[in-house]
Amino acid sequence: MLLTVRDVGKSFETADGPQPVLRGVSLTLAAGRTLALTGESGSGKSTLLHLIGGLDTPDEGAIEIDGRDIGAMDDAGRAAIRRDGVGLIFQQFNLIPSLDVGANLGFHARLAGRDPGDLKLLAARLGLTEHLGRYPEQLSGGQQQRVAIGRTLAARPRLVLADEPTGNLDETTGDAMMALMRDLARDSGAGLLMVTHSARLALMLDARLHLRAGRIEDAP
């Protein structure tokens, strides 16, 4: 199994004491499959995604990627997982503002020691050929998200984690981005776990899970 999440729990300290965000969450995702994670604001979707991506550590439970428990890893180990095995796509795009589009596209792959391939070809596929020398702030939201997806495409990770990737985009652009991500998963045989508010987008993926108050429910 590419991804296994077992009984994961997570709390955050607040002024009123520890506030549980995730309670005994479990799920699995196989390579080449896509999974939508839906839920209301504050239900813990993004937190779960961050834990799976090794950006944070669970208080309890285990998260395994390709059989390796990332909760048991140190900071450097989790960084290596993010670098080599996981691709992250965020709602806010989170491109590197100091690098131009070309450098952004190849950055993750080169960081992982992989050849990013023909970036011009990739840019052409993403419709970014004319923007290769531009900087992120000079692009529209849709263009920035295409760069973020292209960055993940070039890195060829085993697991793609997308957090509301179309949340800042109009419906047409959002649908185009969804198609790109599905192509990405299909072409590379990677697993795709996507957090979304949209039931319509969730229906485009292979499976759906619903998170309510930190617990998994079946998708509505």
Binding site: F12, S41, G42, S46, H50, G53, L55, D56, T57, D75, A76, A79, A80, I81, R82, R83, D84, L88, F90, Q91, Q92, N94, L95, I96, P97, S98, L99, A103, G106, F107, H108, R110, L111, A112, Y135, E137, D163, E164, G167
Partner: protein, 794 residues
């Protein structure tokens, strides 16, 4: 409405205490260093004014020329209300002697002590030569009459009856006659009565003020530099605060607060900072002035013979000017932000505009401005004349270099991006480039401080090396001797001539050289002078011609001031009009000086009794001869001085001279280091959204922290690299332009690459220290804080 809006604006500072600290400390430092220097200058000028006003000579016209007491008597007999004045330095002391006539001195003159209860007895002693008046703290040789301390006298001043003063100074002349008001009409004009004399305007400044003007101008320039460096910090802090509060400002506007009211509220906020930081700065300035004043007073005494009180007395004007400078600084630093705010469209983007600032157009404008200013500096250096042109050159050079720094940095970093191997290295260079706008003000401040350090350090190093060599030449004789009177001088000479290799008399007399006060020396024809005298310019056969009584040597100060060099003719007053045979360096002497051959000197000053001698003998024999002379002639130690002691004293005066500028240099560098630290710390928080994606892609916090350190070091290293040529250019301007205008001599520029490298290393250490805390914070930052960047609810 005002209260609510002001509360919202001030809440920013509660959440950003470090930024508040940066703003207040930056402004306080700027104000403090400026007001400190002003306090020193004000105290010194007060002392000069006090000295100039002793006889009211700052308000009275005077009759100048080759005058004696007989001329005074002639003028009085003709009905002129005049009073004689003689000024000089007390032999064997640094005190200034003022000879007056108590009966004809102006009624408004402050001659304290003569009007006391025992006035009659005191006056008798004063006139009889058994009593003089001295300012507190003046130390006088035993050979002088009893000195009564008078608190009202200017620092370092001794007042004696004019005849007593003539006796002390060994002259029968007077300097000038002060012309008092109330002269009857129809009197024979003074110029007719006393042919050769002429009337001169009141001395509004006094000689000391004129002589020391350049020194105080130097101090003021350093004060301004420190103020400018401080303003860079304030500008950065205010600009940052405006950027960070842009969303709040937009919201306030959207909620109905007019732009004019918002601008007013921010102006009120700035006024509050002015009061707080101004008060802190004034206190700091007082501390700086109190710490530096003794050094400055010693410098002025050593270099110019000017006496300045060693304690501070401050006027309300000084306090007010401190607040004024703090306010002006804030207006300069925050004016641009206020102006932008007043014109801000209500729907202006709320995102930070750091990137926008980095746009090529801004860099291009900065580059053009820098090149233009460097051009102005070059023109001022080549075509300018006078001290003001020198300082225009300095200012344009420093500001031009500072403006060129960001575009040059961007070019270098662009090159680094292209040449970088590996994604992290590429990101490091690109990230450094993106930080340039945010750090540019702090880096400019660092550049200014480093350039000032390199420049002043090079100047002082060049000065020290040249001055040491100069002393070795000028002080070639092993011992220097001063006799108490003519009889003792003759006895000493008779005793010494068979016992040493040579006894070289050093006769001297005060004279008016090319219209300004100076002195003339007589020089015997001896190999000591022929081999060692530091000539900068000379006619052929200079020494033989001097020995033959032809012409004169003049010092560099006189040559530069009068524009007369070897071969020209100079008016040496009582020494006559003479051809200049050579020009010699005479560092540290504020006055013009000329040297005649012994016979020519004797002819020009027949009444001069020489009391000073230089002795040539094997150096090893000197200590025994000193002991012998002290025992045989009962000579006190201050009348027989060995070469090493004079050199040590001269070098001590020299070191003291630059101690103040060195202290200001260190303070300026400290201010720049603080600016860098504050900018890096603030940016460390602001740039989290730029660092977090790199961390999310698999770069550990440790590597990111190290990259942060490396980035600071790269930026500081390049700043240091640019600071060195700027500093060397600064040193050249100081040595070849400002020094010549200010002191009258020019020094060669001696490169000190070791010192420059050490300073560059210190800049790197300062940058590493400044970056250490933000880097450490990044390293130890909890992942949850980095994750917040990706949370869309943030």
């Amino acid at each position: 409405m005002n209260r609510a809006a002001l509360g919202a604006l001030l809440a920013h500072w509660r959440r950003h205490p470090l930024q508040l600290l940066t703003l207040v400390v930056g402004l306080a430092l700027a104000t403090g260093l400026w007001t400190g220097v002003q306090a020193i200058n004000a105290q010194a000028r007060l002392s000069y004014a006090q000295a100039a006003a002793t006889l009211g000579q700052d308000a009275l016209p005077r009759l100048v020329g080759d005058l004696t007491l007989a001329d005074f008597a002639t003028a009085r007999r003709a009905g002129w209300p005049v009073t004689p004045v003689l000024e000089g330095r007390v032999p064997g002391s640094r005190a200034r002697l003022l000879g007056i006539d108590p009966f004809t001195a102006p009624p408004s003159a402050s001659v304290p002590g003569l009007t006391g209860d025992d006035g009659a007895g005191t006056l008798t002693g004063f006139l009889g030569g058994t009593l003089v008046f001295a300012a507190p703290g003046v130390s006088l040789p035993d050979s002088l009459p009893e000195a009564r301390v008078s608190a009202g006298l200017a620092p370092g001043l001794v007042i004696a009856d004019i005849a007593v003063a003539q006796s002390i100074l060994g002259t029968n002349r007077i300097d000038h006659l002060l012309i008092l008001p109330g002269a009857r009409e129809g009197l024979v004009p003074l110029e007719t009565l006393l042919p050769g004399a002429r009337t001169a305007a009141p001395e509004t400044q006094g000689d000391l003020a004129r002589l020391t003007d350049s020194f105080h101008l130097n101090l003021t320039a350093f004060g301004l530099l420190a103020f400018a460096v401080g303003l860079f910090i304030v500008h950065a802090a205010i600009g940052l605060a405006f950027e960070q509060r842009r969303p709040l400002l937009r919201t306030l506007r959207a909620l109905g607060l007019p732009a004019s009211r918002l601008t007013l509220l921010l102006a009120v906020e700035l006024a509050g900072f002015t009061l707080i930081a101004g008060a802190l700065g004034i206190l700091m300035g007082y501390a700086v002035a109190a710490a530096l004043l003794p050094g400055v007073a010693a410098t002025l005494a050593g270099l110019y013979g000017a006496n300045v009180a060693g304690s501070l007395g401050l006027s309300p004007v000084w306090w007010l000017s401190g607040f004024g400078m703090a306010g002006a600084g804030l207006v300069v630093a925050g004016g641009q932000s206020l102006w932008q705010l007043a014109r801000l469209p209500i729907l202006a983007p709320a995102m930070p505009r750091a990137w926008a600032r980095a746009r090529a157009s801004t860099l291009r404008r900065q580059g053009i401005g820098g090149v233009v200013l460097l051009g102005v500096a070059g023109l001022a250096a080549v075509l300018g004349n006078g001290l003001a042109a020198g300082f225009v050159c300095l200012g344009a050079l420093l500001l031009g270099a500072a403006l060129l720094l960001p575009p040059l940095l961007s070019l270098v970093l662009d090159f680094g991006i292209v040449r970088a191997k590996g994604p992290l290295a590429q990101w490091l260079w690109a990230d450094a480039r993106q930080q340039v706008p945010g750090l540019s003000l702090a880096l400019m401040a660092l550049l200014l401080a480093l350039a000032a350090n390199v420049g002043v350090g090079t100047m002082v190093g060049s000065f020290r090396a040249t001055f040491t060599g100069f002393l070795d030449q000028r002080l070639a004789s092993e011992l220097y001797l001063t006799a108490a009177d003519g009889a003792e001088a003759a006895a000493l000479r008779a005793y010494l001539e068979p016992r040493v290799d040579a006894v070289l008399p050093i006769p001297s007399a005060e004279a008016v050289l090319e219209g300004a006060p100076g002195e003339i020396h007589g020089q015997p024809d001896h190999v000591t002078f022929r081999q060692n005298w530091p000539l900068l310019d000379a006619v052929p056969d200079v020494w033989n011609r001097l020995a033959a009584g032809e012409g004169a040597l003049v010092n560099e100060q006189l040559a530069r001031r009068a524009g007369l060099w070897a071969g020209a003719e100079a008016d040496l007053g009582q020494g006559g009009r003479r051809e200049i045979l050579g020009v010699y360096s005479d560092y540290g002497n504020p006055l013009g000086q000329a040297i005649l051959g012994m016979a020519a000197f004797g002819a020009a000053f027949p009444d001069d009794v020489n009391l000073r001698f230089a002795l040539r003998l094997p150096p090893a024999d000197a200590p025994a001869l000193v002991d012998d002379l002290e025992a045989r002639f009962d000579l006190p130690p201050d009348r027989i001085v060995d070469q090493a002691s004079i050199k040590a004293f001269s070098l001590g005066v020299f070191e003291q001279t630059f101690a103040v500028t060195a202290a200001l240099n260190v303070l300026t560098l400290g201010v720049a280091g603080f600016a860098l630290w504050a900018s890096l710390t603030t940016l460390g928080t602001m740039r989290l959204p730029q660092v977090a994606p790199v961390w999310a892609l698999g770069v550990t916090r440790r590597r990111l922290a190290l990259a942060d350190l490396a980035r600071a070091l790269i930026l500081a290293a390049f700043t240091a690299v640019l600071a060195v040529p700027t500093g060397v250019a600064l040193a050249w301007v100081l040595l070849a332009v400002v020094n010549v205008q200010a002191f009258g001599w020019r020094l060669p520029l001696l490169a000190a690459p070791g010192d420059w490298a050490a300073l560059a290393l210190w800049a790197l250490v300062a940058a590493a220290l400044a970056a250490a805390l933000p880097a450490w914070r990044l390293w130890r930052m909890p992942p949850a804080q980095l994750v917040k960047v990706f949370a869309h609810e943030r």
